[in-house]
């Protein structure tokens, strides 16, 4: 059940001389506006210091529904931070903080494809910044939860107000967390995984 080699990339996966198979990699995506605490959250729970790599992000005009055939899209290179949690020797969880600036539009399919789920981080002082992420996960039908980052322990709006303002439906979990706190980030990610489990169960044949 470990990573089954794909026909395109796995041509050499079955070399008999391999010592131990690599762990099965799974990933969660952490999204939200710029400066909302994505890297802080990754760093709070990752077992290594967050790493940065340059990723190519396809930039699209906001509000375009069919992203794949947009003629005017361009590719922008942005820094992407990520962290790692070794679940056990055979399973590794990667956390990718997606570049969240509005002007990059939302086409990080490249990073999000195959994610177990997503956590959208919200700063209640700048609610607008996370609309794109919420829309994206809804549109892509990826399990997700919304977590309000309580800067300095303060949340400026009631959760009901936040839910109303973001227009997220009742079945999307909405929590408050502290991106600097390991346990708090862990619990927020567990909320995402609960959504993923519920989704997987509902997809199972009865």
């Amino acid at each position: 059940m470990d990573s089954a080699p794909s026909p395109t990339h796995g041509a050499h996966s079955a070399t008999a001389a391999e010592p131990a198979p690599p762990p099965l990699p799974v990933k969660l995506v952490i999204a939200g506006g710029f400066g909302v605490g994505k890297t802080t959250a990754v760093g709070a729970i990752s077992e290594i210091r967050p790493l940065t790599t340059e990723a190519a992000i396809t930039e699209v005009a906001a509000g375009v529904d069919d992203l794949t055939h947009t003629p005017g899209k361009t590719t922008t290179t942005v820094a992407m931070d990520f962290g790692v949690i070794t679940i056990d020797p055979t399973l590794k969880l990667y956390l990718f903080g997606t570049p969240g600036q509005d002007r990059f539009g939302f086409m990080w399919d490249d990073v999000v494809e195959g994610a177990l789920g997503g956590l959208v981080i919200v700063d209640t002082r700048r609610l607008d910044d996370c609309y794109a992420a919420v829309d994206y996960f809804e549109h892509k039908d990826i399990p997700f939860a919304v977590a309000v980052n309580a800067f300095d322990g303060e949340v400026q709006h009631e959760l009901d107000e936040v839910r109303w303002a973001l227009d997220v439906s009742e079945h999307i979990p909405l929590t408050v967390f502290d991106a600097r706190d390991t346990g708090s980030v862990r619990d927020a990610l567990l909320v995402v995984l609960d959504v993923a489990v519920a989704r997987a169960k509902s997809a199972e044949p009865a």
């Binding site: 059940m1 990573s3 089954a4 794909s6 395109t8 990339h9 796995g10 041509a11 050499h12 996966s13 070399t15 001389a17 690599p22 762990p23 099965l24 990699p25 799974v26 990933k27 729970i45 077992e47 290594i48 210091r49 790493l51 940065t52 790599t53 340059e54 990723a55 190519a56 290179t77 820094a79 992407m80 990520f82 790692v84 949690i85 070794t86 679940i87 056990d88 399973l91 590794k92 969880l93 990667y94 990718f96 490249d110 990073v111 494809e113 195959g114 177990l116 706190d181 390991t182 346990g183 862990r186 990610l189 567990l190 995984l193 993923a196 489990v197 989704r199 997987a200 169960k201 199972e204």
Partner: protein, 150 residues
Amino acid sequence: MTDTDGPEPDDVAAEPSPTEAPEPTVRASAIRPFLLTAGRVAGGGTAPPLPVEAQVVATSDGLSALRALAFERHDIVAACRRPQSVAELAAQLRLHLNVVRVLAEDLCTAGHLSVHVPDARTVQDISVLRRVIDGLRAVPDSRGTLRDSS
């Protein structure tokens, strides 16, 4: 590779910028990397690009051929003595993600690397999700000092 911090790219050291303070973090150059791939970009063909989390491991053939490999190809195979993701490889070697994708696919074709792409059905696999949940629950309320990746 024994260097825990990854190699310094040659071009950074060679860049004459006497008046400017050095950048705190070295960013991969946007132009030079694609010279390495002869201008090719990941996913240019019919196959989808390697997932960022795909695991890359050096084969014994790759390790024996290490002396014959130069520059980035050498660095990639050497770094892959230990399995790691495409993203970790890019970060460690300070290469653009898509450059690593192209080179890793080349090296895989040449038999120097094996690339393990996760099954798309994993996201719906409840047993995997449960293992992730159990693993996360085991994370303590606070982490000690983070170690740098090696």
